[in-house]
Chain length 364, copies 4
């Protein structure tokens, strides 16, 4: 499961009955209206066929447990999202011809050929709907403590968002952009680029940046359960992720300490850092500054160009030419997913931190 | 704990009695001689004062449980490494003056001032000795199945190892280099650079690359316990890590699918990929190719230049000037640590994978 | 979750949409036909109104994930059992009047009044349908290794099954008895007794005994994850359980060592024990003899006699008189539940054990 | 590990360097003086050779991590207790002759003969010293919230403590009795009985009863992590335990609901139950009444009478006659161990409960 006190398990296949999430440890009494979950799920959908797949799903969901009269009960919550709009027939053709860099081959090996290969099975981006549904609950838990998680596209291919965007603009503009980039000009450029890539039958990667505001200092449980470690593990459950960096990340590896360190200052009676190159985490513990990290998504492995592969049954080399419906850039659809997974981890660590804090209050 | 079946817990402070590791789930009957552990621990020591701290510790250790007559017993193993050569007095001076970008401040907040602040307490690089001791056991488990984990310096500052180094050379040369870089010329450049940085009283970051050979396809337990996710979480327990990327990592975010995908081929009757841009993992599961990842280390936050900070007791801004003994580049000392932590995760996933494999054998 | 490699999570409320189980870590390629699950679920139903509740549910279920073309895929399995035949109105009346010895009060406190109180919510016996569904999968995993779990009624009230029943008879007769007791005479007596208790508007407790055959020696992971400890924890998730004892259990506390010890002997070339007072477990590890334990169920707390309680809203003492539909003896309905929960734990420990065994084979 | 937030791992062998406990998640700032731990450890020692083993150990311990200047730091705590007074030579003789009902045989099988067999290795009662040391920390955590765990001998053989003993007397008298029974007359009878058993070269079982006072209602995390389930699993890690029952336990299986239920009443403005047959737990959650349970210990399997066993090497039947130093009744030495293990679980659930409570406070 993702998380220890507030924890989430995932299930479901791309072309089976549906996907879903089991959420344990959610405190009782949190108002959850179905519209909120629907709204979150809608962030995964991009209705513009020039930059997104034509498999548009309504994401109808059922809350099968744990919510009563519109409030969390404290018992395990189960959200189930039905699959609709399924086209499986193409997958029979490629069943034994694994798509390069997809999980087709590793799934075949690990599950000894018994995996539900249609649409990628559990390895499909479809599972991210369940992540977003669980994240919708987590966001409500964080909301009461004014913790806000904002993700957006930082770059696609070589097109990068370079200007500093004020937090309000990020909040307002990200989901108005068809490519989830809060800056209009960059958004337009990325949009054109993805459209072109799609026309070429190709795909492209991208980077999602996340800012988490309002985090109190003290979250994270080193030496093992560090806040950044738990975020990294959870983020890597999202299909297509190949890297994560906190604060200035890899750039710090090229810097001197005198440049990289964040000096402490006092501002309106509160300890802060002048810069935030550490991305809000030191020693695996939040330091009160915004948590910042970037996640690298590879290009969708499913492309329309012919590719070399092997026939697993006949054990010979061959080629495939895909015919299904694929996203030209999963990064842009992953924006709310990164937000959701991050919200789950933050909720878990918030509750873990509260256990001690409550104890220590009584301690005085 | 790191790991689920083969699992490791860590404990100990920089200036307390020592540091150590508790290792559970290690199969019985594995020969462990103390020299092997000593040798692994020695890889953490760099005796050249121009690139390393002057706190050189003998790393004397005691095996307090779980090994009998030179073999693992199957019971929990406890290895304890005594602290020697401690100089704590300087830490009293800076107790309430947190070092920028170190865990001093977050520790103070999280532990309500009760943490052992001397030498950074549990946040010291000292804890990595325990990681290496545990990794020494894990390496022995992997050895029987010819799985080999090799880490080395990929870059320090802007100096990067760019040529392809054959695996044999990596194995032989890495620990002969005082900066853990298997290429002699790059090693020399990095050595000079770190020396210069050290003379300036500054520090510098670096990147550690890791290659894991001999991994059977099928390791990793998605949707949650992916192999890369578990590696990432564990690697982030190492002090100073700010990012991790698998295969081509962040570079993939700038590529097209047609460039990024690894075509499948058959070579000597075995399925392989032509390229390895995925770094040996697809869908969170090993694909049989070498696992490759890079870890970004920030510069040591402890530098000798004066820095702005705050006085936590008097709640006012101030400056500190450190006097202790620090590494100018933790990345070079972290090479065996990355190797060790990776070995722990690989051992855990190897055993987890074996549970099913054994069952499925009987299944036939 | 129950279990570590093969693990089960539960969800659902008595009067909500349904109950269910999420099963992780089940090996792929295990044939699961829906009839098998239906058959197992039917064991929970006792259609005789003289000894059972009139809430008879068809237990229609949906497999929402993890099974494809009739075989487990290796991915998480989700089984959902819809609630039918619900009568909730009575629960509004008693919402603030907790039933003595039921979880009404503790649920109200823990969940701050937000729990779904109808029908006892998650504390209803209804959740045991999910346990049985998960157990049906586990039994299939065990079947391949000829491990068989058999539970049956040992006693109800003071009526006890005293004669030794051959294993074949237990297997054949238990579920033919309306009170799940394989001995016809004892079954008849218990039947009459429960009928009488039911007519009186009262309830009665009972003891379920379990025998697990075919367990290889070596299962169990001390010092913490002992086989008996894991069984005990899992069994205590079943509503109404107040005690568990292994082998001769509490009786051993009154015996001398010379009577209590099980001497080792060799029989057909195999090491066995002459007696089995230890119940097949020593030091938390299976010893190859049948595992035997007994579970004490208290009387159903819901009885028709008037009872003293308090009004939680008005904070005054009052009385309640229940009108719902309740079992006069939950023990008899719990027989397949104990079997199922035990099967889950045995499956988990079988797989955990296999991890080492597979490793050690390669070791030679 | 035992526990989820406050968690304990154990290690060490009977005749190795020592035994110990790793304690994670202990809040910072709790005063721990070494005398307190020493005092707790001394409760395990019974210096009267007529009822106890002659292996009396000083239980010198080292705190190797996590406590600084007499206070917990919040970091993992490691306590190590050295083994002294070891006599191993006898164990060579019986190495391949497993003691009936001891873990010698199961350890040999599970660990493929690599286990440290001397003195029973990890299966020795020696490990309980580590349990008590960890419990000493847990008791300090509970103390701040006035939660008190009291264990004592309820029966040995057929001699039972039948009178109701006031809580003050239990607190004061238990450890003054050489057999840990707070009632003087029963204590005397038990003392005489154990002495006689010991003279006969035999051993005897017993029952330890535990009362936990001051527990707030609401502790326990159903449906899986019930308070009683977690207690049961943890208690079963103690060597020699064969059963556990809560409240009236097995007796409830013979009762009617109208007798077994605990009516709710209001006393000094607080909701309580008139009786406490449920033992303070309903639905896996504490109800505010004292938690009461009984643990059955079998007789020490090591007795001086000749016993049938097998020679594992030569695969033939044989007999053994033990010569070591053994306790005639482990139950009496287990009293502080049950107390300690229970304290660990209560601490964990107290902290888990606080996470939600703190959240819900902020919620208002």
């Amino acid at each position: 499961m993702i998380g220890k006190i507030f924890s989430v398990a995932l299930f479901g296949e791309s072309h089976g009955p549906g996907v879903g999430a089991l959420i344990k440890g959610c405190p009782p009494g949190i108002k959850i209206d179905e519209e909120h979950i629907s709204l979150e799920l809608s962030k995964r959908r991009i209705r513009d066929p020039r930059v997104s797949t034509q498999r548009i799903e309504p994401d109808e969901f059922d809350i099968l447990a744990g919510i009563y009269k519109g409030y969390t009960t404290g018992a395990p919550i189960l959200i189930f999202i039905k699959n609709k709009n399924i086209e499986s027939k193409h997958y029979e053709e490629i069943r034994f011809k694994p798509r390069p860099s997809h999980a087709d081959y590793t799934a075949y090996i690990k599950y000894h050929g018994y995996n539900d290969y249609r649409g990628g099975g559990i390895f499909s981006g479809r599972i991210t709907a369940a992540m977003v549904a669980a994240g919708a609950i987590a966001k409500k838990v964080l909301e009461k403590f004014s913790i806000e998680v904002l993700s957006y596209i930082k770059s696609v291919g070589d097109i990068e968002l370079n200007t500093d965007i004020p937090i309000d603009k990020i909040r307002e503009k990200t989901y108005l952009s068809p490519v989830r980039c809060p800056d209009e000009e960059t958004s337009r450029k990325i949009y054109e680029f993805i459209s072109k890539v799609r026309e070429m039958g190709d795909s492209v990667g991208g980077i999602v940046e996340t800012i988490i505001n309002g985090v109190p200092p003290g979250l994270g449980d080193p030496p093992i359960d560090t806040l950044d470690g738990d975020l990294a593990k959870a983020i890597l459950t999202i299909p297509g992720v190949k890297g994560i960096e906190f604060g200035e990340g890899f750039k710090l590896s090229r810097q001197l300490g005198s440049d990289a360190n964040d000096p402490f200052i006092i501002k309106s009676g509160k300890i802060m850092t002048m810069t935030n190159k550490s991305g809000g985490i030191n020693g695996g513990i939040s330091n009160g500054m915004p948590i910042v990290f970037r996640v690298a998504f590879k290009p969708t492995p499913s492309i329309y160009k012919p590719q070399r592969t092997v026939d697993l049954k006949e054990m010979r080399e061959t080629t495939i030419r895909l015919k299904g419906r694929f996203d030209p850039c999963i990064a842009i659809r992953a924006v709310p997913v990164v937000e959701s997974i991050s919200s789950i981890i933050m909720t878990d660590h918030l509750l873990r931190w509260m256990a001690w804090e409550k104890y220590l209050e009584g301690n005085r």
